[in-house]
């Protein structure tokens, strides 16, 4: 076995040391269902002015516009407009202002176009003109002297393409980028599958001034950044894990050779998982560290639960199996990967380590005296009830880590925060897809969808960003045309023309409005939009697969709200997809899912214990102890400020499994009337805690949270196993009574016994009787 292991390790090391070595994924969307993941090839380019490089009397707008122009020239078609080009959009809106009002608004429109109302509106305009602020207030009297945009807001929602939102302090540039109103930032959308670093380098090379700074935002750049962070933190994390395990193993075993042997066995399994599995992301790295920490459990000769020692391995290895039914792809993969990893660790520890120790001529040290547990039923009940109550009380109060969020350092957050403050939150943008046989048909379909999606504004969404908002389906167009013709717009515009002249205005100054309102034959059809000056912008919304057009809905940041459900005229649901949708769904069903996974883990753990001990009371007590540990962990997370979310699910389940194992060991010790050796507690509980502390000290925000949870959870699990499980077992009628109770035997204190309780020194063989099982014999 040693030879086979050596060959495997050499192959693995050759793979790691060779080219391309170990790849790191950096994928922070691994928990999101694939259909809800953000597109990685559409990063946002943020241009900002370095404050220190800017003169006091200089603003940044000219610099930013010059930089955007240079970037546009360099990137060509890889730069796509975020919003419609300002001049073309203005022209389109002016030409079709009245058509963009729904028929329901036409009654109000008729009232506004009555002579009395128009007279009042023109007088009000004249009155407002006397204000020195008026010209800078954003009002556009030339385009909308009657303030008809108020009707649009009231009846059609805002024309919520990017750049005209009242909730966004930014405006569209002539080329369709977004410029912050304070003139300090500019946002450009890119389409490129190139590595973000190379793209950014290319952009920086063409920036015309050192005062302009560039940053890429989006899942693609994030992935690259996280991968670089993992690569940078890998050596530190590895050192911390190894150091932690060395300390724990040394404390427990007090010998160098078994410590080295165990580390080699565990390390080779981790190495194998790294090489043989897909490139690890941030969640995977944390799981690898936990595999090393929890894997040390396998170094114990697990005779405290059963003579063969498999129940503890089964309880631990099967801990994540409930996640197989979860909606999180990464955890589904790890539900089996963890089982395989634990099996591999246990096999190596029980098969390889004895061989290595034999080669090293190591003989087992005599056992040290353990403690005899005295189960206290009242204490167990009080602890269990307290933990359950505290956990139930804490659960609704715990901060929630949304599925689409991964904690990040403050330095990484800067540009993202600026984009959120000055423009919009890209994390809240979700998509609805409209399909058609041709681009025009897809756009017409998008117009229908956009009209229905507009109902989400303002309660559920801040913006519905779709070219479909600017065109109308044929049926709706005909309906609005008939309704507008009935309003006799021509006559009303003639009256307005006269009215303006009467009040001292120059009617020509309002020519865009008057012409656009009068010309009812110029229809905002999808075909006209695609073939007109807005065409290039609209093509940016067309998706690669078939003629389909995306509508971007900017949801409100309300994680607790359900996903809006919209049904179109044909009765089909308009499906929204995106990280924010997945996060809302996850939030809504998280408590149910958590309960399901925990119950599954408890059942698997209890089954393993029952099969190993054939004692229902022991199995029940272990399951209860696990639940106590998990609820106590939830209660401890509240004062520690730790959030709960999908990213933390494996930790909760592993803490439960650790409690099952610790409880099973303690219960068997009571049932068999044996001493419980501290070695076992040290090796399992502290090994897990050491892995957690290594993660906590890794300086990665996600790993810190997970690590603290594991460290606290491991201690709690050991406590629950030792102090709750035996007491509950007695309460359930098991241990020390009836057939399950081992005969009382004299105290073996004067004579040291071989320490087979803490370390396997025998090759793995089903038939091989263990020393402890022999000891257990009456």
């Amino acid at each position: 076995m040693v030879t086979a292991w050596l060959v495997a390790v050499v192959i693995l090391l050759a793979r790691v040391m060779g080219d391309p070595g170990v790849e790191v994924s950096g994928d922070t969307q691994a928990l999101l269902p694939p259909e809800h993941r953000a597109v990685e090839g559409e990063p946002l380019l943020l241009l900002t002015i370095r404050p220190e490089a800017q003169e006091e009397a200089e603003g940044g707008v000219d610099l930013l516009l010059a930089a955007a122009s240079a970037v546009g020239e360099q990137l060509g078609e890889r730069r796509v407009p975020l919003g419609p080009p300002a001049a073309e959009l203005t022209g389109w809106l002016d030409a079709h202002a009245l058509y963009l009002l729904p028929v329901e608004a036409h009654e109000a429109l008729a009232e506004r176009l009555s002579r009395a109302s128009m007279s009042a509106a023109v007088d009000a305009l004249r009155a407002r003109l006397s204000s020195p602020i008026y010209g800078l207030s954003g009002e556009e009297p030339r385009r909308d002297p009657l303030r008809l945009q108020q009707l649009s807001r009231q009846y059609a929602g805002r024309l919520t393409h990017l750049g005209n939102g009242e909730d966004m302090p930014a405006e569209l540039t002539p080329t369709g980028d977004l410029l912050a109103l304070d003139g300090q930032a500019l946002l450009i959308e890119l389409r490129s599958d190139e590595p973000p670093a190379a793209l950014l380098e290319e952009v920086r090379a063409v920036l015309p001034s050192d005062a302009v700074e560039a940053a890429l935002i989006g899942p693609g750049p994030r992935r690259e950044q996280v991968a670089a962070d993992i690569s940078a933190r890998w050596p530190r994390l590895t050192t911390l894990v190894v150091a932690g395990l060395v300390v724990v193993l040394s404390l427990a075993l007090r010998a160098v050779r078994p410590v080295v042997a165990i580390l080699l066995a565990v390390g080779s399994v981790v190495l194998g998982v790294v090489v043989l599995s897909p490139p690890p992301g941030p969640h995977d790295v944390a799981m690898l560290v936990l595999l090393a920490g929890f894997g040390c459990e396998g170094a114990l000769h697990l005779t405290r639960i059963s003579p063969r020692g498999w129940p503890a391995a089964a309880a631990l290895g099967g801990a994540l199996l409930p996640l197989w039914v979860s909606p999180y792809p990464a955890w589904r993969a790890w539900s089996l990967g963890w089982l395989v990893g634990i099996v591999a660790v246990v096999v190596l520890l029980r098969g390889l380590v004895p061989g290595l120790l034999s080669l090293a001529r190591y003989t087992t040290a005599p056992a040290r005296t353990g403690v005899r547990l005295q189960p206290l039923r009242p204490l167990a009940v009080v602890l269990a009830v307290s933990a359950l109550a505290a956990g139930a009380w804490s659960l609704p109060q715990l901060p929630f880590l949304a599925l689409d969020r991964t904690p990040r350092t403050g330095a990484d957050e800067g540009p993202q925060q600026l984009v959120r403050d000055a423009f919009f939150d890209p994390r809240l943008v979700v998509r609805a897809t409209s399909e058609g046989d041709t681009p025009a048909a897809a756009l017409e379909r998008a117009a229908e969808h956009a009209r229905q999606l507009a109902a989400l504004v303002p309660d559920d969404a801040t913006r519905v960003d779709s070219p479909g908002r600017l065109v109308l389906p044929a049926a709706e167009l005909r309906s609005r045309q008939r309704s507008l013709q009935a309003l006799e717009i021509d006559d009303r515009m003639t009256a307005l023309h006269e009215l303006l002249a009467t009040r001292g205005f120059r009617p020509d100054a309002f020519g865009e409005f008057l012409r656009g309102a009068t010309d009812l034959e110029d229809l905002p059809t999808p075909k006209a939009a695609l073939e007109g000056p807005l065409g290039p912008w609209i093509e940016g919304y067309l998706e690669d697969e078939g003629p389909a057009l995306a509508t971007r809905v900017h949801l409100r940041p309300r994680i607790d709200d359900p996903v809006p459900r919209l049904v179109n005229d044909e009765g089909d649901v308009i499906e929204l997809r995106g990280p924010a949708v997945a996060a809302r769904r996850d939030r809504l069903g998280f408590a149910d899912g958590l309960g399901l996974y925990v119950m599954g883990q408890l059942w698997i753990g209890a089954l393993a214990v029952w099969l190993g001990t054939r004692s229902l009371a022991t199995a029940l007590a272990c399951a209860c102890a696990a639940l106590v540990a998990q609820t106590a962990l939830l209660a401890a997370m509240l004062p520690l400020g730790l959030p709960l979310g999908a990213a933390m699910l494996p930790v909760v389940l592993l803490v439960g499994a650790a409690a099952v194992v610790a409880g099973g060991r303690a219960c068997q010790s009571v049932r068999n009337d044996e001493r419980l050796h501290a070695t076992g507690v040290l090796l399992s509980g502290l090994g897990q805690a050491a892995a957690g502390l290594a993660l906590f000290a890794s300086r990665d925000p996600l790993w810190e949270q997970l690590g603290l949870m594991v460290a606290v959870g491991a201690v709690i699990a050991s406590g629950a196993g030792l102090f709750v499980a035996p007491g509950l077992m007695r309460l359930f009628g098991g241990g020390g009574r009836g057939a399950a109770r081992a005969p009382v035997r004299p105290e073996p204190e004067p004579e040291p016994e071989p320490d087979t309780a803490h370390l396997s020194t025998e090759p793995l063989s089903p038939e091989a009787p263990t020393a402890t099982s022999e000891d257990d014999a009456p």
Binding site: A57, G59, V61, D62, L129, S130, S131, P132, S137, E166
Partner: protein, 231 residues
């Protein structure tokens, strides 16, 4: 054009002597300033000699807007009321006019026939150019040494007759794309602001004439003016 740092360098000796700090050797021995800087310092000294005493102010206001929207310039009259430190109200006479309210960072324009919180009011709080102008207008009447007034501003002292001071938004700023300048005309004796000229980038020009300045009126006079506005 003078940047703010050189302006303050030039203005410090004048301000120091005016405020009785001339005996402070570091201020008194400041480097000699250019003619332009001295002119700016003089304007600020003149302005602050009146503004620094202002707790409240009421003045008659005549507004003239020259715009391509109208055949003839729009003329209106009204009242300007300032109450330190943050409230400025410009209210046209009669029900046909409008009121401009600047209360700290809140900027609203509403018709005289409507309450100030009407949904029909124009809210310009988020518009940088409107914010910049409203802040300058408010600070013109507020006590101070000019530092706040000149913050985020370029200055120019026009040649010719009269004590004028021109404030401009920074070059290349978002405000500059909508607003060219704001000019003050100061009374050469008292230091009151007698005229404000606002030049918008699109070509409109607003000339506000101020007369009959009444400084530090009893509170009830100001309150009675503000009462219809329900502020």
């Amino acid at each position: 054009m003078i940047d703010r740092r050189s302006l303050l360098r030039a203005a410090l000796p004048g301000l120091a002597s005016w405020s009785g700090l001339a005996s402070w050797p570091r201020l008194a021995s400041a480097a000699p300033a250019s003619v332009t800087d001295r002119k700016l310092a003089n304007r600020l000294e003149l302005w602050s000699s009146y503004a620094d005493r202002t707790q409240n102010l009421m003045a008659r206001l005549s507004t003239r807007r020259e715009t391509s929207l109208l055949e003839e310039p729009l003329m209106s009259t009204g009242t300007l009321v300032f109450r330190a430190p943050r409230l400025l109200v410009l209210r046209d006479d009669g029900l046909q006019g409008s009121t401009t309210l600047v209360d700290g960072d809140e900027i609203r324009v509403f018709l005289n026939t409507e309450p100030h919180d009407t949904p029909e009011a124009i809210e310009a709080d988020t518009r940088p150019a409107a914010q910049w102008l409203a802040r300058r207008l408010r600070l013109m009447f507020a006590p101070g040494d000019g530092t706040a007034l000149l913050e985020d501003t370029r200055t120019h002292v026009p040649r010719g007759r009269g004590h004028r001071l021109e404030l401009m938004p920074p070059r290349g700023s978002a405000t500059r794309r909508q607003l060219r300048s704001v000019s003050l005309q100061l009374d050469p004796v008292v230091g009151t602001i007698t005229q404000i000229v606002i030049a918008e980038a699109q070509g409109d020009r607003v000339v506000m004439g101020l007369s009959d300045h009444r400084q530090n009126l009893p509170d009830e006079d100001i309150t009675s003016f503000l009462e219809p506005l329900k502020l």
